[in-house]
């Protein structure tokens, strides 16, 4: 047996680590799915600005990935997930989610269809036991391929131009579509997807090409001020885009210790995903019952007066009764507003007489603010350039 030494590096460095490490001037790292990931390289405002005004690069290698192949791959994914994987065209991507028997969310993620019988699931948490259990009775193979694929997220209004300069013509690539390109004897898959609510692409390749590709991309993007970003800046962008994150905005059912904590897709604003016409899927009966009965919780977007960020704050009805909690909040530089995502008891989802109590820490003293909040539609920030095909040449 070979020596087991993995425990000596509890956080695995990404294939891009030799390049990202010297750039991380603050040496700010955090764990993501067992990988060392940059939280911030030097200045979160500059990194956020790159997302919204130039081109930003985020290391996506830690994203958990499963390859699903086989004759019944589509049937399997239809039973596993909420949407109809059979309707997803080859070369297409869709945002989906999956539940346990009780109709409570296990995770959300993106599903890539590489071939008629070849899919890739990308998600936040690890699910191999559940995916394998779900495979019983289906002619499919499910394999975790997280470490076999290196990925970068290139986001920002200049991202298409950067790619063009790098030699990859993505002008015709529509949102949620992908295309393949040759790169140094290997292949690079580019999908028009992302987690910023902006124009952007995700770039997928084998780990052996990671470093030459990084160098190539950074060189090509230099005229547009391409900049590596950490999770802090990305989090700001995703809140503006109104995206939720598993284990931050909801607790996945397989990890929740308290039985009232898991949330259903209906409660997390993902009810639109559910394809009721495709037949059985795990959690269907429970979700149908919930739909008939009414949900207990709702996910809402909030506009909060002032500029004090409200993460973790409790929501009150009539300033008296606790009715929910803010799971993500930020002062949005793009909108010049304090926005938040919150779980609120479904009967207060309309937002009438809804208040937030913010404890603002000011030099070791809390100032308690009780502010009226307004329920507003998500996404908070939704620029036309996100969808424009071809994107503007800049």
């Amino acid at each position: 047996m070979s020596a087991q030494t993995h425990f000596k590096t509890p956080l695995r460095p990404s294939p891009f680590h030799p390049r990202t490490a010297p750039l991380n001037r603050l040496n700010r790292w955090g764990p993501w799915a067992g990988q060392l990931n940059a939280l911030c390289f030097g200045d979160v405002d500059m990194e956020y600005t790159a997302i919204r005004n130039a081109a930003s690069v985020y290391d996506l290698c830690a994203m958990v990935k499963y390859r699903v192949t086989g004759r019944e791959a589509a049937e399997y994914l239809n039973r596993l997930t909420l949407r109809d994987a059979g309707k997803l065209a080859v070369g297409g991507v869709h945002y989906t989610a999956w539940c346990d028997d009780a109709g409570k969310l296990l995770d959300d993620g993106t599903l890539f269809r590489h071939g008629p019988q070849d899919y890739l699931i990308c998600c936040q948490e690890r699910h191999l036991p559940w995916l394998l259990d779900s495979a019983q009775g289906f002619d499919v193979a499910v394999r975790e391929v997280t470490e076999e694929i290196a990925a970068l997220s290139l986001q920002g209004p200049c991202s298409a131009s950067v790619l063009a300069a790098a030699g990859f013509d993505v002008w015709g690539l529509k949102p949620f579509r992908m295309a393949e390109f040759a790169f140094q004897g290997g292949s690079l898959t580019i999908s028009r997807t992302g987690f910023t609510g902006d124009l952007g692409y995700e770039l997928w390749l084998t780990p052996d090409l990671a470093l030459p590709f990084w160098d190539h991309l950074m060189q090509a993007g230099a005229p547009w001020g391409i900049r590596p970003i950490g999770s802090d800046a990305l989090d700001l962008a995703r809140i503006e885009a109104g995206f939720i994150i598993t284990n931050m905005d909801f607790i996945p059912a397989h990890q929740a210790l308290r039985e009232d904590r898991p949330r259903s897709p209906l409660e997390m604003g993902l009810g639109w995903m559910i394809d009721w016409d495709k037949g059985q899927f795990t959690g269907r009966a429970a979700l149908a019952a919930e739909q008939a009965r009414g949900s207990d919780w709702a996910l809402v977007g909030l506009d909060i007066p002032g500029n004090v960020s409200a993460e973790g704050s409790i929501l009150y009805h009539d300033k008296k009764h606790e009715v929910g909690m803010i799971t993500a909040a930020a002062w949005s530089p793009a909108l010049k507003a304090s926005v938040a995502l919150a779980q609120v008891q479904a009967r207060h989802a309309g937002g009438a007489n809804l208040w937030v109590e913010i404890y603002a820490l000011r030099e070791l003293q809390y100032v308690k603010l009780m502010l009226p909040v307004q329920v507003v539609p998500r996404p908070f920030f939704n620029p036309p350039r996100k969808r424009a095909t071809p994107p503007a040449r800049v």
């Binding site: 028997d101 559940w130 259990d133 959690g283 009966a285």
Partner: protein, 490 residues
């Protein structure tokens, strides 16, 4: 395409009990049986030319009283149990250690009677959803034991049977009988926790083992005839390939032949795993439920031996049930090797001479010996070698106890758990379609989510031994399922 109101899969005791109850309520019922004759585990087989033996079960502790009323079956008088050394036991009377046996038997029978009503209703579940009116009588019955006895029941209910024998009896032979009877057909030894509750469940079914007049085949015939008289249509040689599920509801079945039969309701008295994994299929079930079905423990520990004998073996009482289990430790020792897929050197067994009760089982002057042998490995590494070893070890033990037996043998066969699975569809060779063990009883039988006969697939019900309260040629599960179905207007 044919169609009917209610389709029942499996004409075993539970399937027929369920069918009869539904037919008596005016429903039109078609029962499909894969074998050529009804009966399931309660059939008869010609295992050697001219020699017939009970195909699997060779005794019953008695039918559920509701089933017995609806489907009368004639039984021989309750059998005496013979132990080694000329010891005999019948009910509470034993020829050794009589006072202690009598006291223990009386106490355990009282407990069993207090628990018996729970066998005749859907299992109570924690939380909401109980019909409390139905629970009043059984709960009062428990209360009626009195405070001291109720406390004693609580002390004993999850205890191992070996300790009870040690505490209450002084005869090794009686301890062996107690342990053997408690663990017969289960996958545990007398020192395993929770083994006494299986003895209580046995007593709740009946005090003494009963043999139907004419044998087990006759019992199956009586039940089938009774069911048909009640209006049930019975169709044998009809193996179901799959249950048709459309728009999330069971709507009938497709037979092996390709024939489709539509039904408003499908009731499966087959194994729950067979029902969900084979007949329904993963794509119609939630993934967690499908996985849990796969985790129901189904290990059979019993083998079935049939001997064709040229003459009457040297038995003190040929009509008795002979139990060869010299001590509780002998039962435990017979169980130990099974944990490792091995065959016990000295198996323990229950021996019956059906031909001594009913002529026609064997040619004139010849006899048939039927034995249930504990403990056989359910998953041996080499099934053929294990079968040969099990037969040889069983014959050696038999010869010791019945001198000269081997010289009478014309033909001998033994059905290992894997053979029982192949012949009767009892997965793992387990008699109860899922081990009868405390963690798989009541609302955990066969599993949460299908514990009250209804299943997550609307229109599909369970009625077999895999459902509460289990099997044992009794019919309670089938009858309960019919009651639940009628109550739900299914």
């Amino acid at each position: 395409m044919r169609s009917c109101d209610i389709l029942i899969l499996g004409a075993g005791v539970n399937g027929l009990a369920c069918a009869t109850r539904l037919a008596k309520a005016g429903r039109s019922v078609l029962v499909l049986e894969a074998a050529a004759t009804p009966g399931g585990g309660a059939g008869e087989v010609e295992f050697h030319p001219g020699f017939r033996a009970p195909a699997l079960a060779h005794l019953t502790q008695g039918l559920d009283p509701r089933v017995a009323r609806a489907l009368p079956v004639a039984f021989h008088p309750a059998l005496t149990t013979a132990l080694q050394g000329g010891i005999t036991v019948k009910g509470g009377a034993a020829s050794v250690d009589a006072a202690a046996w009598s006291a223990l038997h009386a106490r355990l029978s009282r407990f069993a009677q207090a628990l018996a009503p729970f066998r005749q209703m859907p299992p109570p579940i924690p939380g909401a959803g109980n019909a409390w009116s139905r629970l009043v009588r059984p709960l009062l019955g428990l209360r009626g034991l009195g405070q001291a006895e109720l406390r004693e029941l609580m002390r004993l209910i999850l205890i191992n049977v070996h300790d009870v024998g040690e505490d209450e009896l002084s005869s090794d032979a009686l301890r062996g009988l107690l342990s053997f009877d408690a663990t017969l057909g289960a996958w545990l030894g007398p020192r395993s926790p929770n083994s006494l509750i299986l003895y209580l469940d046995r007593l709740a079914r009946g005090a003494d083992p009963l043999l139907p007049v004419g044998g087990m085949g006759a019992l199956a015939q009586s039940l089938a005839k009774g069911a048909e008289a009640a209006g049930v249509t019975l169709r044998c040689n009809a193996r179901v390939a799959r249950v048709v599920v459309a728009d999330g509801r069971a709507r009938g079945v497709v037979l092996d032949s390709g024939e489709e039969i539509a039904a408003k309701t499908v009731v499966s008295a087959l194994n729950p795993r067979t029902t969900f994994h084979q007949l329904i299929g993963a794509r119609h079930l939630d993934a967690g439920f499908h996985r849990r079905i796969g985790h129901i423990r189904m290990r059979g520990g019993a083998a079935k031996a049939h001997l064709a004998l040229s003459g009457l073996p040297a038995l003190a009482d040929p009509k008795a049930r002979l139990v060869i289990a010299p001590s509780s430790t002998a039962v435990e020792n017979a169980f130990n090797p099974v944990k490792y897929g091995q065959v016990p050197d000295r198996p323990v067994m229950e021996v019956l001479l059906p031909s001594a009760h009913d002529s026609g089982m064997a040619p004139a002057g010849a006899h048939v010996l039927s034995a249930i042998v504990q403990s056989a490995p359910h998953a041996p590494r080499d099934p053929v070698a294990a079968r040969a070893a099990m037969l040889e070890n069983s014959l050696a033990v038999l010869e010791e106890n019945i001198p000269g037996l081997r010289s009478l043998i014309l033909h001998a066969e033994i059905l290992m758990p894997q053979d029982i699975e192949a012949r009767f569809g009892l997965i793992g060779g387990n008699w109860h379609h899922g081990e009868l063990a405390v963690e798989q009883m009541l609302f955990n039988r066969p599993l949460h989510g299908a514990d009250r006969y209804a299943t997550p697939v609307p229109g599909l019900w369970l009625a077999g031994a895999g459902a509460h309260p289990g099997g044992g040629i009794n019919g309670a599960a089938g009858w309960n399922a019919a009651e639940a179905l009628l109550e739900a207007k299914g």
